[in-house]
Amino acid sequence: MSDSSNSSAESAEYPPELARLPPGRHGLPREFVTRNQRERLIAGLAEAVAENGYAGTTIAHITRHAAVSRRTFYEHFASKDECFIAAYDLVMTELDRRVGEAFEQEDDWPQAIRAGIAAMLGYLAAEPHLARLSMVEALVAGPVVVKRYDAAIQNLVSYFEAGRKGRSAKVLAGLSPTTEEALVGGMVSLISRRIFADRTDELGSLLPDLVEFALTPYIGSAKAAKIARNG
């Protein structure tokens, strides 16, 4: 516990969830302490990035928000980029889990799509810092993150491809090999631009538009509009 000598008064500045562990011999298992530090660093990075943008964020910003020492930072991460990647992966895993669960809970495909979109909007709106980190800042965080960002978005394509199952030949003829990619890209573009404009709290109100946009190619605009508006 190398940083236990830092002033403990410092911790009063931070909200309770970021409060330091008691210094010295607190009797907590080493593994617990380490994980707690790692999580705090990731939360600290998200706050620092929300404040300064990715490019403007320094390791000093991160450690200040996380209330840990610089040395602790380097025990967990080799660089700011590495810390960002960890944060990004955490957000995307959580987003993926929530969307997947919401989707699986509905038997009817159009309703499952609606539930998945609602889960995505709900999570991003509730976590504005993480929303910005994953949907906006990720784009300038270097090729490693950009690759993961693209993969995460392409991953959403499979939820839509499931909608082809059991459709008539006429409907299928109206879909091209890139329909799903274009739908996902269009939705992500709408979402990202709201987040960029600091209108993350309005994301929930996009639900009917996004649902109608996404379902129309499969079930036609009249049915899609009905599900979009009435759930």
Binding site: G53, Y54, A55, V136, E137, A138, L139, V140, A141, G142, P143, V146, D150, I153, Q154, K170, V171, A173, G174, S176, P177, T178, T179, E181, A182, L183, V184, G185, G186, M187, V188, S189, L190, S192, R193, F196, L206, P208, D209, L210, E212, F213, T216, P217, S221, A225, A228
Partner: protein, 204 residues
Amino acid sequence: MRIINGLAREASEKGYRAVTVADIVRRAGIARNTFYENFSSKEQCFLAAQEYAMGSALEQVVERAGSIDDWPQRVQAGLAAFLAYVAAKPDLARTCMVEALAAGPASVRCYEESLQAFVSLFKIGRDVSPHGGELPETMEEALIGGVFWILYQRLLLEETDQIEELLPELVEFTLTPYLGVARARKVAAEGSAAAPRPQPRGRR
């Protein structure tokens, strides 16, 4: 122009953030002084690149499509001009269509302006559509976002040569909400018959 191309090439290789003025200067084959005679910073150079690219892309769209009265044909011609531009300038296009969202407020403003230009072109479709009044408010933004995303994916995979082949599916994708599948397909098919690029393409 050499400087802007230098920035675009470097940015598409390693990402905008990692690019330094030294990289741009080396790639463009110019002196550092020359860079600073033209731009005060990398950010300013990026913005200039973006304004240049978006400006000339829209110019070509208007030139090719602006005088066509029939709206579906105008969309078809406009998309064809846009795809041709992206295929000719892949590095610039890639930098502008996605990274701009994270490259600072001025870049985002420029991105939004060019997106709105396309939104206005598509909004006309509401007057042509039998159910134009019922379409979701944000639909045009989503359609264009979808087109940009498809193009960006092709650029990332360095499938620049396949970009213009996407024309029929993108025409169909963007016209369908207004005209229904059957009419949208017809316009798309006629357009590609007029300018054939017959090459079967696999599913990526």
